[in-house]
Symmetry: C2
Subunit: 328 residues, 2 copies
């Protein structure tokens, strides 16, 4: 479990009644597994957050799946295909898969649920659930008030999970719109880059909120064209309005990258700088993935197209934003 | 003209073709009038922004209305009734009134357009236009990219104004939803107080964006119950999504007031402190006005009701937010 998976494990294990279920965790990184085994803490979180006594740490991924109802997928998006391929044959019949991953696969542009569908044995019955909202791992550990969307084609599964594993400090919005919640979680990062560019150019917060809200509409219309529901893309949807604005104004790597570009740094150099600081700019890659997905309809996405021209092409931030204002 | 009225005058006078119209301004404050007359600058703005040569400064309000097509209303909301009462009889037939005011009248809860309708001579034909968006006065002077909604029952009037008096740097969304745009501009300030409280309590940005987005939904449902359109309350509406998030995260007096309350300061003391710093907390008064408007349906507005209990009653911020999380 990574930092986010650990936080969710901590929340669930504190919330569900003791003895009502067995929670097992595994991590293939030896030092994380050791720390979890030794004292129930995670090396990347404060030692005050401890899961021992309530959670069983297992020594291999296969040990997770005996008498198992729920598997939480908390791996990097680009690694999911391999994980499902390696583990899927061990998943029990009627398993519920709860994905915490906000990502689209590079190259294919696949959502995580599409990868799972492709890689699981064809005869396995399962329910896919996507969790997504504006929640940093630490906020969950601290029990701050938060919201999240939970999407599952079988709405009763989503509702059951929200009742059983989350406390009232994480308010859960159940929905059947899996595709919408997945697109929302992955694509918000692109918008945060545009906001950062606007800020880096020295424009004020009113410019930033205007451009963010307009670019968000392009993402929404893309997702709807792929079958998402407009409700998922409303302002009060945790997977969208909440997560989008948190990403745009929180301590966001995507915004920082945009700020550097807005300040005049060449995008490749800005990315190198972020990488050197060990700060992954997911939106940078998602922007390319999105661009591939819509390459035949670019004129329907004038803002994101212009953003792509700024980040991957030769458009300057100033003239890019001005051209956006003229195109709107 | 105040700081905002001056900025709009500057924008319009720079944008419209020279000689195509006469723009007149007046201010009843002697020192502002003198400054405008002397060198076309406003005492509260940088002297680089000058309207001389393009704008005629007149010595009394009545001098404004000869051969006049458009009157811009840029006075404090609580003073509008008196201004219209004193000046309305001099307005020419078929005048267009463009209001820049974001406010509800204390006591009555009236929107500005309702005050105008009540105070203008009954036989005067006029069009009422409401401008509202996420724009600080200085951003307009600096020609930053911005967005605004323009509402008028006669959509052609709104469209004509957006073509003729605004440059492409202020992207205008015309709509017929006058009531919605008025409610949006006035009521967003309430939500910013809640966001500030959340921040003052030490919760993270994800908590803040979650509570803001949920409280915003209560305002939206109130406005819709009063005839506003849901489009006006979408995220990409400049009068709502844009202005709301700018107010919540910009240099906002409402948020600052909320932060003080969240940090444990008694609300009356927090207000005194803000007043002593000459920072008007509009949302404080609007919260009371809103509470009066919905006092028979309080259970439909659990978040704003709880906020009212925190600010005007005896609820503590911590237990107030917790009770919101349980009620959601």
């Amino acid at each position: 479990v990574g930092v986010f998976g650990f936080a969710i494990t901590y929340h669930i294990s504190n919330h569900i009644e003791k003895g009502s279920a067995t929670i097992k965790v595994f991590d293939k990184a030896g030092h994380i597994l050791e720390s979890l085994k030794n004292d129930g803490t995670h090396p990347l979180h404060s030692r005050e957050y401890c899961i021992s006594g309530r959670v069983k740490v297992v020594g291999s991924a296969r040990d997770l799946y005996d008498e198992c109802d729920l598997v939480v997928l908390a791996v990097p998006g680009q690694g999911l295909r391999e994980v499902v391929r390696e583990n899927g044959t061990h998943f029990p019949e009627n398993v519920v898969l709860l994905s915490l991953i906000k990502s689209l696969e590079k190259g294919t542009g696949y959502r995580m649920s599409q990868i799972v569908a492709e890689e699981l044995p064809a005869n396995l019955d399962y329910s896919y659930v996507q969790l997504s909202g504006g929640m940093f791992a630490e906020d969950i550990l601290k029990s701050y008030p938060l919201g999240a969307s939970i999407a599952c084609k079988e709405i009763e599964v989503a509702k059951k999970l929200s009742r059983e594993i989350f406390s009232h400090r994480i308010h859960i919005f159940p929905t059947t719109d899996v595709a919408g919640v997945e697109y929302a979680g992955a694509l918000k990062n692109i918008v945060a880059i545009l906001g950062g560019i606007c800020n880096g150019l020295g424009y004020s917060i009113g410019s930033e909120t205007f451009l963010i809200s307009q670019a968000a509409r392009e993402i929404e219309s893309f997702a709807i064209s792929r079958g998402a529901s407009s409700e998922t893309f409303s302002m009060d949807s945790p997977a969208w309005g909440n997560d989008l604005w948190m990403t745009c104004f929180g301590n966001s790597r995507n915004r920082s990258f945009g700020q550097l570009v807005g300040q005049g740094m060449e995008p490749g150099k800005a990315l190198e700088k972020m990488i050197a600081e060990n700060r992954l700019v997911e939106g940078y890659y998602t922007l390319q993935t999105f661009h591939n997905l819509v390459k035949d309809d670019l004129e329907q996405y004038p803002m994101i197209s212009t953003l792509h021209e700024i980040v991957y092409g030769s458009e300057s931030p100033t003239s890019g934003i001005d051209s956006i204002m003229k195109k709107l």
